[in-house]
Subunit: 459 residues, 2 copies
């Protein structure tokens, strides 16, 4: 069967689109998720245009072969991992920004464009595409759409789905659907756009997106505050969130993260520092200065050890460096499993202190960094992958953290997606009726079940 | 058959929930749409809790009886009009605001609460629910959710779907689905929330909503500018939209609207005034003053006849009065058919001048008011309902305006919904494949087709 699919693909597509060389196939098997298995695909197809995506899905449907849509493999949940005997459909060659409409402030782009590349193109027109995952330099817009990615500026600007006006989507049978609009508002029919966004490649393959833009923001002004512990830091964060200013960034690092960064990059934090909070305003000029000074006062009034206002954007970037270096610092300590849990904003301290207790019980380092303004945290579980006992404890503490998040009224994933990593936990959050509705919708759009089967939920 | 359904309903529900008296039934037949027929229902059911909604839908499914979910009947597309031999399911008695969470800034509400009542409750906590349809005093939150309503402040704050975190929805078979979340971010599974929002009662019945809130805005500062014609007014609007400030309101009135308001309420506009633009800033204090003065400069620099900055909020409200009085003014001139078309923002002048030409050709008054900041306009077609020729011309010019909107890259509805009024035009916008996907999704969630059948699209 595999050979007849391959024959059909190579007959239908230009010569360099279909990869079957085992070494090259191997490099398309995994995204960046830990603990997620990947199968051995029969081919990687790398289309350069929508008609080629359509041909691939038509053939896959005819042969009942599973298809895994894939962006830049920067995902953290295994949603893009290959499936045995399936096709990996990589959108990496559909990497052109097609059109920037300055007057109406939107951009039309192919999915393979990197987030950073898109940001740069629109910046040349004085415009701004806010969603900024930490992986922005090496994650694709298509992947951002598939997982409804967030980032650091969500606290002010929202997430990917807040910016999607329209999509071109190839359906499971190869039909090309154009849905959405180019207007600011529109309510003609169901919101198919937001059904496809965040569906992790299980409902269709996005081949083009029309994305809303904003006027460029000003260069950010930054303040950093250190605290003795999570409780005082949480009070500072709450003071900001309830204080009238909407910061453009509001990040948190716990003691374990600060120790890791200190060890790796000699940041020389004082030993009594148990938490760091970083905030920015991008309002610019007089307003920005007023905002950041007010935020600094709010952070200071809640038991801060020290509050530093950056003198300029360069110094601001230095203050942010500790946060940006957290992941590399953890990676120096061992294998890391990055979690992504989101709780109502006022449950932050319960989450962070609960994670501290779980880490102690598991006798593992769990460093928490996160988007405090959204209640969205990334606990990094550090372990020795060569030690089966540590691996088991890492997996256990990871699951325990998600249960804790749910108990606090939160969600198992704020921005990384479900993929394979959290598939078996989804029912705990959405319930059996929710799962039934998911399966019913999946069946309506993909009756043969060829699109990324087994991701997000089991068929 | 009707009597066995009625028997089942009266047996399952408390005594005052089921209305069958013909006079009372009659008052639940129509929403406010023109040109939309309504059937004769067998009953109006007015549940007070979710379990009663569930019982109603279970019985309707068992008897294959259509159900029309209904809010405050303020809709303008006929989506809430009764169906022959069907049940009208009025949510008007589920009218309690259940919980305001100040720390996490959300409100949990039943669907029968009026938009204005919800706004008032959250305002008492210093919070703000932005979506503000013009009908806000007599439209319900459930209706707002069903049509994904907009309003006057969308240009800064977005529409209803931007504020929905979670929903309780009773499915066609009577199952109670809870979907969404209470956190700011969350990507666990498909975005069912936004699939139900805007689906006009065709996919489920919303019985509870968790809505995101913002900090209260400051009292608005207002500027009004008059222009000789649409072209100069459009230039002023474009100058504001491209000028860096995001106004909290940016409204437009054309010459016919100004004449109507003048005739009805003696506003004494100078005869050379052909268009009015009103803008507001709700940033408050120094920032608000800086914003509104900059907007005034931008409006002035584009050929304005006169620019008036309100001295205080009361004077600002007087400047807005002309806009708010437009609908009542048209209603004094005859029967009115309110359209709702949205185009890319830079096509505003093409739309407005195109409508002027269509009105001349039809020999009818068509007054255009609208949310210029969003490219969303409401042409009001005025006609004599007793004159069949005028009725035919009114209907024709209405359709022509929608075709014009589509030709300009727009949508047939920016905020009123499709209902029955625009059902036959939907395919022109979303295409036959889009329509097929709508039908597939409808069938997945409502296999018996009992939920508001014939609305939005034909089965």
């Amino acid at each position: 069967m595999a050979s007849s699919v391959l024959d059909a693909l190579t007959a239908a597509l230009p010569v360099d689109r279909v990869i079957t060389d085992p070494d090259r196939l191997a490099s398309y098997r995994f995204d960046r998720a830990a603990f997620c298995p990947a199968g051995h695909p029969i081919a990687v197809v790398r289309p350069t245009r929508t008609t080629e995506v359509a041909a691939t899905l038509r053939i896959a449907s005819e042969h009942r072969v599973p298809v895994v849509p894939q962006g830049a493999r920067s995902g953290l949940s295994g949603a893009a991992n290959a499936i045995d005997e399936g096709i990996v459909l990589s959108l990496e060659r559909m990497d052109r920004v097609l059109h920037v409409d300055v007057a109406n402030r939107f951009v039309v782009t192919q999915p393979g464009v990197m987030n950073a590349a898109l940001s740069q193109v629109v910046a040349e027109h004085g415009l701004f595409y806010p969603p900024d995952p930490s992986s922005w330099e090496f994650c694709s817009i298509g992947g951002n759409l598939a997982t409804d990615s967030g980032g650091l500026c969500c606290v002010k600007y929202g997430v990917t789905s807040d910016y999607v006006l329209g999509l071109e989507v190839v359906l499971a049978g190869g039909e090309v659907l154009r849905t959405g609009r180019r207007t600011v508002k529109g309510v003609a029919g169901y919101d198919l756009v937001r059904l496809f966004v965040g569906s992790e490649g299980t409902l269709g393959v996005i081949t083009e997106a029309t994305l809303r833009l904003r006027s460029a923001a000003e260069r950010p002004m930054t303040v950093a505050a250190t605290y003795p512990d999570a409780t005082t830091a949480g009070a500072g964060i709450a003071a900001v969130l309830n204080g009238g200013v909407v910061p453009s960034l509001l990040e948190y690092m716990d003691r374990a993260s600060l120790r890791a960064v200190d060890a790796a990059f000699r940041m020389d934090f004082s030993p009594d520092v148990g938490a760091l909070v970083i905030a920015q305003s991008d309002a610019g000029d007089v307003v920005g200065k007023a905002e950041i000074e007010l935020v600094a006062q709010q952070l200071e009034g809640c038991g801060a050890l020290d509050v530093v206002l950056a003198a300029d954007p360069t110094e601001g970037e230095l203050l942010l460096a500790a946060r940006r270096q957290a992941l590399p610092a953890f990676e120096r300590l061992g294998t890391t499993l990055v979690d992504d849990v989101c709780v109502p904003r006022d449950r932050m301290v319960d989450l962070v202190t609960g994670i501290e207790r779980l880490a102690e019980r598991a006798e593992l380092t769990v460093g928490v960094v996160g988007h405090a303004g959204d209640g969205n945290f990334h606990p990094n579980v550090v372990f020795d992958a060569a030690d089966p006992d540590q691996v088991a404890r890492a997996r256990q503490v990871f699951d325990d953290i998600m249960v804790l998040g749910l108990e606090l009224g939160g969600t198992i994933t704020g921005e990384h997606g479900v993929g394979m990593l959290k598939r078996d936990l989804l029912a705990s959050e959405i319930g059996s009726l929710g799962l039934r509705v998911h399966r019913d919708l999946k069946r309506a759009l993909d009756p043969l079940g060829i699109l990324n089967p087994g991701k997000v939920f089991t068929p």
